[in-house]
């Protein structure tokens, strides 16, 4: 009877240990989920509104230049210095858009700027280089967490405690050479 009690106690201890290991792994998994959410949020963080407006100005300038080039071609045709039919107004869709923007660049800018202002309302923004650097940091943090999780799973396996791996575990962590 005493031997049976000892056996029961041993199994109880083993069950406690397994539960404790599982809880520790779950805690790391919670951190992985939280860090993954941070990463997704950061990736969806836009550049500051001023950068977007600078990009808009650059885009409008490009369209103005393209429209100017298209019009110069027509002038060459009209003045007879080019060997092509006079006044062949057959712009490509891109040129047509450029010509439309060139007709009213300020109006176009105002329209898009209003959309941008609406988009940025109450939204956090971050400069691109700062965001990219932060993304790299969080990615490294995430990989470290996943490697820690994998290390725990391997130690548990070595002790005869089975813990399921996540289907979406990072292959780098799962294949990593981890020193015990």
């Amino acid at each position: 009877m005493k031997a049976l009690d000892k056996l029961k106690q041993a199994f109880a201890k083993q069950a406690d240990a397994a539960r404790s290991v599982q809880e520790t792994v779950e805690a790391v998994r919670d951190q992985i989920i939280a860090t993954g959410n941070d990463l997704a949020q950061l990736r969806a963080t836009p550049e500051p509104q001023a950068s977007a407006e600078t990009a808009l100005d650059r885009e409008i300038a490009n369209h103005m230049a393209a429209a100017q080039a298209a019009l110069s071609r027509e002038v060459a045709g009209l003045s007879g210095i080019a060997r092509r039919p006079v006044m062949n107004l057959d712009p490509s869709p891109e040129e047509a858009l450029s010509l439309q923007i060139a007709l009213n660049p300020q109006g176009f800018r105002k329209l898009i700027a209003a959309e941008l202002a609406e988009f940025y309302k109450g939204r956090e923004a971050m400069p691109r280089d700062q965001r990219d650097a932060r993304i790299k940091e969080i990615e490294a943090e995430l990989l470290a967490l996943e490697t820690t999780e994998e290390g725990m799973i391997r130690q548990a396996e070595a002790a005869g405690i089975e813990i399921l791996r996540r289907a979406n575990a990072d292959p780098r962590a799962v294949l990593a050479l981890i020193e015990n």
Binding site: L164, R166, P171, L175
Partner: protein, 138 residues
Amino acid sequence: MQFDAAARLSHLERVRDIRAKAARDAQKRRNDLIAALTAARRALFDAKEAAYLVGFRERESTKGPILAAQGSVADLEAALDTADREWRAARDASTDAAQLYDAVLRFAQGQGLPLPLKVGDVGTDPNAAVRIQGEVRL
């Protein structure tokens, strides 16, 4: 980052196979219980039908088999609930293990990492058999 691709992949493959077998076994248990429950329900139906067929004086004697059949159905229903939960958990675990193995294998292939050798890979390489022996030890 250093990888231990061949050993890890062969471990994951083994885990995948074990999970798949566990899922199949759990499904078989569940199917067996479904069959047993169907038989028990039929027995209960038969017992109830027998009670209607006998005369009033003999009806008392039919209560025992009905109660026994009802108990058996209730026990089997409870067992099936448990087996059903176990089967679903085993099936999910098996699917996860298979998905992880496929993803990790694709990654290893994409990175050109060494893959576990199989018996069919021996070919003409004189060292291959030695390496396979190493794999088996893992």
